[in-house]
Amino acid sequence: MATVSLKKLTKRYGTMEIVHGIDLDVADREFIALVGPSGCGKSTTLRMIAGLEEISGGTIEIGGRVVNDLAPRARNISMVFQSYALYPHMTVRENLGFSLKIAGVTEDEKARRVAEASAILGLDALLERRPSQLSGGQRQRVAMGRAIVRDPDVFLFDEPLSNLDAKLRTQMRTEIKRLHAKVKSTVIYVTHDQVEAMTLADRIVIMREGHIEQVGTPDEVFKRPATRFVAGFIGSPPMNLHEATVADGKLAFAGGGSLPLPGAFKASVAAGDKVVFGLRPDDLYPVGHGLQSGDAADVHVVELPVAVTEPLGNETLVFAEFDGRDWVSRMLNPKPLKAGDRVAMSFDLSQAHLFCAETGKSLRA
């Protein structure tokens, strides 16, 4: 059993508080992604769990045992660093076997476990090389091998893919997922890339400035973002988010444009409320070129001028001007469009989000 539980976990550097008392429960064998913009305290949190950083308050439990003051080696965790942190003076084989050597495992056992890890990650041909003789992707794989050789309770990853090029990153992402299916350990995976978080994790923890904004499955954080921040952070291209004022059954935007108030929010707002209206690009599309998710009555059509188009082959991102600003929409089964064309756009309001302009919290009942 390797649950991880953070209670009121706090980190201060001097007088500056970086992590503000976060609570999180990670189930056994769960893959959790900590995601958030750079500098929000993800690495610090991970390093506190690893024992590389002292904690300033709260408790950390691994497998039900409080580990607050234990050294990293007493926590039975492994960590894959962003920089890989391979030992340059050792061969790949020695890198993989290092933790076993320190633990005093017998030579036979060590050889067996190194061979096992090397087979899983396809490192057999590289065992006698040194890290400097490996490509980025190979180093990445050795770093993961070094982590699995120990058979730890918990894997910690700190942005393991951020030094790879885009193609390799996608490839390694799949590999990590496959690895997790195979070794079945609890994983805490830090990344600033929401796509990585969405594709890998069972649950996603979205952090911002040392606070947790939302914890949920990829589906939950995508479909029901708890805050304006989460709404803007998850999803690519990002959700259209624009401030508006509620006025008798309508949303009045700053530039004079207006949309009907989405039905789902009628009960939770009152006239005069300042809100932020959110609509994903998937729910804004040229008529007939998108997937309608709800009731046809909730689809509101407006004719808008096209500002820019970005063809991606299977779909085209259309930036249409509404209320003086560009709204990004996703056109499936694309037809040729050029800047200046006027198109009828469907606003699928059954999928819209409203957030309180002040607190940023979702107004969904």
């Binding site: 492994s78 340059p88 400097s132």
Partner: protein
């Protein structure tokens, strides 16, 4: 002549100029050494000749024979000097490296109050010329009764070398990424093991060069040694050179011979250690 040909000729010319330049530079660096070796092999008349005699006419090992043939027969106590030099240089180097490693590591890895002030202070100690210290040092040593002892010189040389070894070793530890020691700790090492298993081997070549540096400083030091030593108890080889000066004459040939005897072990040591200095050992630790 097309552009390619002229470019090729230019490149060749540059290569030749490069070679000639290097040769001249090496000549300037090596000539004094060669001249010392040469002077130790030729008679005084030839050394002092004006205009200089470039090509030696007579070569002999007389100076070396005399040097080793014992006091009274024109020799000097080379073995005593050599032993003193060796004991003092090796001991002071080992101590300076040990302190340098502890200090350099602390400067490279830890934050503490007054860090930059302390570092600057260490460097400032080196702005005082050694010779200016020799008189006060002489008085202090006289009071402590450690003049003409190995201990006295070792102490002085450790003090002389420590700022430099700390500074150099600090730089070498800085080049070892922090992540490595952390990874080692995750892999089951204690802080202490992580240092010896990972950080020390990676900074090792650098530490060895600092060692050579400290050794050569002690081995060649003259100003302080000439004040703080008196007899074969502690006189080092550089001080021994003075044995060749009499009231009215200087035995240049003998002096050069002793200089050669001094240089050879230093060269050998440097050669042995530098073979183990594999550069770029930390490459491949992080990123691509």
């Amino acid at each position: 002549m097309d552009a390619n040909t002229s470019a090729r000729i230019k490149r060749r010319a540059a290569r030749v100029a490069h070679g000639v330049g290097l040769f001249l530079a090496m000549l300037v660096i090596c000539l004094p050494g060669l001249w010392i070796v040469l002077s130790s092999l030729r008679p005084t008349v030839e050394i002092m000749a004006k205009p200089p005699v470039w090509i030696p006419q007579q070569i002999s090992l007389d100076a070396y024979v005399a040097m080793f043939s014992g006091v009274g027969k024109g020799g000097i106590p080379v073995f005593d000097y050599f032993r003193n030099s060796l004991i003092i240089s090796v001991t002071s180097t080992v101590i300076a490296i040990a302190i340098g490693m502890a200090g350099g590591y602390a400067f490279a890895r830890y934050r503490f109050r007054g860090k930059s002030g302390l570092f600057l202070g260490l460097m400032l100690t080196r702005t005082v010329p050694g010779i200016a210290l020799s008189l006060p040092l002489f008085f202090v040593y006289a009071k402590l009764d450690i003049i003409d002892t190995h201990f006295g010189l070792i102490l002085a040389y450790v003090a002389l070398n420590v700022p430099f070894t700390i500074w150099l070793i600090d730089g070498f530890f800085r080049q070892v990424p922090r992540d490595l020691a952390e990874a080692a700790q995750i892999d089951g090492c204690t802080r202490w093991q992580a240092f010896w298993q990972v950080e020390f081997p990676l900074a090792g070549p650098g530490i060895a060069s600092s060692g050579i540096f400290a050794f050569l400083t002690s081995w060649n030091e003259f100003a302080l040694a000439s004040q703080l030593t008196r007899s074969i108890n502690s006189k080092t080889l550089p001080v021994g050179l003075l044995d060749y000066t009499a009231e009215f004459t200087i035995d240049w040939r003998g002096m050069c011979a002793l200089a050669v005897v001094m240089i050879v072990p230093a060269l050998v040591l440097t050669f042995i250690v530098q073979k183990h200095l594999v550069g770029g050992l930390t490459s491949g630790a992080v990123k691509g």
